[in-house]
Structures are given as structure tokens and as C-alpha cells.
Amino acid sequence: MSISRSFAWSEIKEHKLIYTVIILVIAFTMASFLLENAYINYMMQVVNETVKNVTADVIITNPDCDVRDLYGTETTMKNAGEIARLIEERFPGYKASVRVTAQATYGVGLANESADGCTLQGIDIHDDVMVESLKKKIVAGRFFRDDDPILRGHTPLYIKINAPGNLPDIVYGAGQRLLREDEPYPVIVGAAAAKVHPSIISVGKELDLYICASARGANYASIRVKIIGLYESGTPTIDAMIWFIPADSLREIKCYGKVKGRSWIIPGIGSFHGFNPIEVDRNMGDAVIVKVPPPSISIDPIGYSEEVKRRIQSIVPDLKVFSWHDLLVYGAGSMQDVVTILLWGSMGVTLLLCGAAIKYVMDSIIIRKMREIGSLKAFGARDRVIFKIFLYQGLFIGSLSGVLGILIAILVMKIVNWYGISMQFIAGTQLKIGFVVNWFTVAISIILPILLSIAAASIPAKKAAMLPPVEALRRGEISL
């Protein structure tokens, strides 16, 4: 071991109490950083597998929609297909898909059964950007097939009742109730919904959905569906709410296409039409979701999503563009973001204080070891040898802090995993807390404390190195 390293190590041993306190503080700070980051990474993974089923990376809607409408009440986009093609043309590598969405209620009117709501996401069973992701999440049953009764070949019957006076007219679309022999539409449901309502939801069961077929008008349809599969994404609340149905089925239900059915008008009561097939218009939808290539380094996924959002907004300035983060903040609040900012802020302050502590401890060492520094210089030690004694102390403190921080973080992760700590959500669902370690942050956990303590040590190190030997010996004698 070189003189500088050996002296640095012996200084650390001599001042082990104060240095241990500093090392522990830095280590706990870095452990918090790692844990916070690993938890965010885990949540990001959960988000990728849940919220992004609804929004992909960004979602484009009509201008009158707000974030609440992302749960199925977006207004109709007549040119959704054109917008999707425009995005793909302007941004090579971006993939865009048209989504048809609706809100629905099930269990209505059933005796002794609870009723609940869901959001129907109509996806293109071949080309939707999230198809592959959804297929991987199927835990029971299967994904959609071409031979499923996606289009039932008739227009659901619509009845418009003219309300008297100033009261609004009511429009019902109730095709399947009139045509009970038809095959039910296939749907895939979140496994969490099956846990909440096991008597209604399981693979193979048929049930009625009461669907809001238009976002702003009073248009409803009651349809029969058959559960062909269950998926599980990681966030039970979202799993309980989001159901998937083929986009064309929902287009048929919402009458997105050319209606061929005949109309009857009953004077004084209203009108109804239906029975004949409609020709669905695949250019129509309720939202366009866009999946973008991931960034080369994933340090700030929220920032990246905002950047993508701005980029897409520039192409469709008259439409609303939301990122997955917007929906997450809407659904879970921005508390996590605020906590993250506060945590990072407090970590920054703690690290700065530790840096200051290292500097002042070393300053005091220099004052007390003046004679030793003078002697080393008298024995031929060059300025850089003295400089390195303090720099190596910084290196050792930083390295020990970083390694200890990682060990503490690993220990906490193990304990949390072992205990299986969960977050409780509404409707009795829960999310098990987990961690996804990013090697980049592990490297930061080592490098940051090293850089900090070396930077803090470099000021007293330079002071000690620049001391003239006579001055050091004389002041050392005086301090005796």
C-alpha cells in the first residue's frame, strides 16, 4: 500500500467515530435513494403493464375531453384512423392505434348481486399497439380469435323516445335483448374484478352490460357478453375497471359505420331502427393511442413522456394529448411525485451537509496533524503525496458509504419482500410492494458518494499540500 493510502486509512481508523457517523448518514441517504428509485422503477413497471393498456405512451382525444374521459367517455373521433396514420408518417418508429371506448355497468337488476362499473376498451385484436402486452397478461382463458362473434351481423336496435315538454329525449340501443339467440360478444376481464365479484365474473360466464354508447348524449345499449379470458397486470384497481372487447364489436354497439337498418317512426312516442347489419367504419374511434420507442437511457420516464406529448401535440394542435403520467396522476394523485421531489431534495441537502462535515473534520485533522505533515514533507514527501492522503480518505469514505448504502437497500428490499408489504386499494384489492433495481442507479449510489467525499476532501487536501514544510513544523510545535 502506498504511503498516501496507508496514512489515509490510518487517519480513518484514528477518527473512526466521527467518520462512522458520516459514512452511516451517507449510506442511509444512498439507501433511500436506491429504495426510492427501485420502488419508482417497480411502479413504472406496474404502470407500463396497467395504465399504458389504456393510454400506451400518449393518448389523443377530441378537444372537449379531459383526463377523466380517458376512462371510457371520450367523444367520437370521426377521423381517428387518419390521425393514427399521420402520427406514424411523421414520426417513424411510432405506432398508433385507434381505440373505441365506452363505460358500462354490469349486474344491474340482478337479485342479491352487487352491481359494478367497468370501462370497455375496444382494441384491434391484431394491430393494437398493446395487443402483445395484453396477451402476456392473460392468466385464465384466452385472447380473442377471428372466429369469435366479433360482429354479430346486425345493428342493435335503437329506440328513441321523445320526452314530453322540455325533458330530454331518451335513446336506448338494446339489440341483444331483442335477439336473445345471438352469440354474446367476447370480453376479457381483469382478474381483480373476478376476485371482487366471483359469482358474476369468471371464464365462460355470460352477463349483461349496460353501455353508455355515446359520451355526451343519452345513448345506451344493453348487450350480452361472454368472458373468454382474465388478465392480470399488477394494479388491481385498474384491472378491476378495464375490460377489453374487440374494437369492431364496440363500433357495432356504438353504431360507428353505415347503418343499413330500417327506421320506424311512431308518432307521439319516438322512433326505432335496426335488425340489419351495419358496415363498421374503421376510421372512427374515440381515441388514438401512440406507442413510442423507449429512450436510450431511462433516467426520467416522466420527463420523456412529457417530451413525447409535446412532440405529438405539435402535429395535432387542435386535439387533446395526454401522457400515461396524466392518467396516473388523475388516478393515484401526484403525491408520489411530490414525495419523490421532497425525498430527492432532502437527500441533496443531507449529502451537502455530509460533504461539509467531511471538510470540517479534515480541516481539524490538518490543524492537529500539522507537525506530522511538516515531518512528512521534511522526509521528502511531495505536495501531491500529502494531497492524496486526504483525497484517499475521501475515496475510502465515499466507497464505504456507497457499498454500505447498497447493502442496507438490499436488506430493506429483502425484508419488504419477505414480509410481503401491500398497498390497500378500493374494493378490497391490493398491490404488493416490490422493487426493480436499475443498475444505473446502483452505479450512481457508488459514484455519487465517492465524488461528493472526494470533492469535500479536496479543499482541505489542497490546503495541507500547499503548506510550506517550515510553516507546518513550526505551527505543529506551537500546537504541542
Binding site: 506530522e372 512528512l376 521534511a378 521528502g380 514544510p469
Partner: protein, 231 residues
């Protein structure tokens, strides 16, 4: 054949501070130190004895004048080269020993050698030999802090000799010792000078100690007032 001086000071002046607060520590000092000499530097307190030693030992630079080490003018060479030269050519013995308390005796002795970049094994062998000569070999593994003042100064002498310097500069080597220990240390330095042929320059304000020097340089107010045989 005439001997060449190992250290030569030519019109060396050292002034501390500036303007009206300046103090002339050395005033136009010129002298030559030859091999194997045993020199006492004497003078009243504040006469510039330690400053002279510091300048000779390259611990301090003169304000004016030149210093030659084995004929080489070192007055203007870089701090880095000065440090290397100091480590290889000059051994120091300080009044308060300056042993590193957390190191063992042998580690203290080999320290200047390690700084000079020499191999540890070779240094340890030499350190044992030196410790034997100064009569403290049995304390080689003890920590410096556990030794008596006299023993610590013996270690300091061994440490000063580890790099085979051309000169040993001792600043009040007995200043912190009792009479008995002082005599032992001076006998040891004299022995080293005779047996090893190492040049020794020591500073002392004690006439009894100064008597050990074969040559005496006396300083008063920074000027040499006597330089000759010690009577």
C-alpha cells in the same frame, strides 16, 4: 586533494514578513559544510540558528543568496525536485522527535525510505541494523508513543539515517531530554559521525551540548560571528 563542500551557503539572507514588520532571520550568511564534519550551531534565542538549519535542509528558501548541495545550485529548482532532493540527501532530527505515534518504531524508521520509493523489505533490513546501532532493536515492534523521550530520539536518529543522507541536521536534539539522555543522544550522534562518516550539524543553545561539535558556528542577530574550531 582539497575536499569539496557538500553544502555551501553563499550570501544567504532570509527575511520574514514585509515592510516595517519584516524580520531579518539570516543576514548575508556564507559558509561551507564539508564531509564528515560535526558542527554545532550556537547562539542566543532568535539568532537564526533554526532558520539556518531549515535553509541548509531545503525546508525553507532564502530571500537572497544561493545554496549549493554537492555543487548544485538548488536555490531556484522546483518544489517537487526540492522535496525529492531533501528526502534523499538530508536527514532530520527534531527537538520533539516527530515520530508518528500510531506507527511502530520500525515503521517510523522506514518512513523516509518509503517516501523515497524504496522497497519495504530492503528498508526493514536496514532499519533493524540502524536500530541495533542506536541500541533500541528490541523495541522495533513497539509503537512510537510508548517509548521514553530518549528512546524516541534514538529512533529519530535511526530514521534520519535510513536513506544514507549526506548530512544529518539536528535542531535542538536534546531540547526535550534530561541531562543523562541528552548525553546519550549526543554520544550517539558523535558515534554515527565517526563510524558512519555522516556529516552532522546540530543546533543547541546549551554550551555543554554545543561542546560536542568539533566545529562551531555562532550566530548573533542572523549573522555569523564565529566559525571555527570549537574550543
Amino acid at each position: 586533494m582539497k575536499k569539496e563542500p557538500i553544502i555551501e551557503l553563499s550570501h544567504v539572507t532570509k527575511i520574514y514578513g514585509e515592510y516595517e514588520k519584516s524580520v531579518i532571520a539570516l543576514n548575508d550568511v556564507s559558509l561551507k559544510i564539508f564531509p564528515k564534519e560535526f558542527i554545532a550551531v550556537t547562539g542566543p534565542s532568535g539568532s537564526g540558528k533554526s532558520t539556518l538549519l531549515h535553509c541548509m535542509g531545503l525546508l525553507d528558501r532564502p530571500t537572497e543568496g544561493k545554496i549549493f548541495i554537492e555543487g548544485r545550485d538548488v536555490s531556484r529548482i522546483s518544489g517537487k525536485d526540492i522535496a525529492v532532493l531533501r528526502g534523499k540527501k538530508i536527514g532530520f532530527v527534531f527537538q520533539s522527535h516527530n515520530l508518528i505515534p500510531r506507527l511502530t518504531v520500525i515503521e517510523n524508521v522506514i518512513l523516509p525510505g518509503l517516501i523515497a520509493g524504496r522497497k519495504r523489505v530492503e528498508l526493514e533490513k536496514k532499519a533493524i541494523e540502524l536500530l541495533r546501532e542506536v541500541g533500541i532493536e528490541h523495541r522495533a515492534k513497539h509503537r512510537g508513543a510508548h517509548l521514553s523521550g530518549g528512546e524516541q530520539q534514538r529512533v529519530a536518529i535511526a530514521r534520519a539515517l535510513i536513506n544514507d543522507p549526506i548530512i544529518v541536521l539536528a535542531d535542538e536534539p536534546t531540547g526535550a531530554l534530561d541531562t543523562e539522555s541528552s548525553k546519550e543522544i549526543m554520544d550517539l550522534l558523535e558515534e554515527m559521525n565517526k563510524n558512519r562518516g555522516v556529516t552532522v550539524v546540530f543546533v543547541s543553545h546549551d554550551p555543554e551540548i554545543a561542546r560536542y561539535g568539533r566545529r562551531r558556528i555562532e550566530l548573533v542577530d542572523g549573522s555569523v560571528t564565529y566559525d571555527g574550531v570549537n574550543r
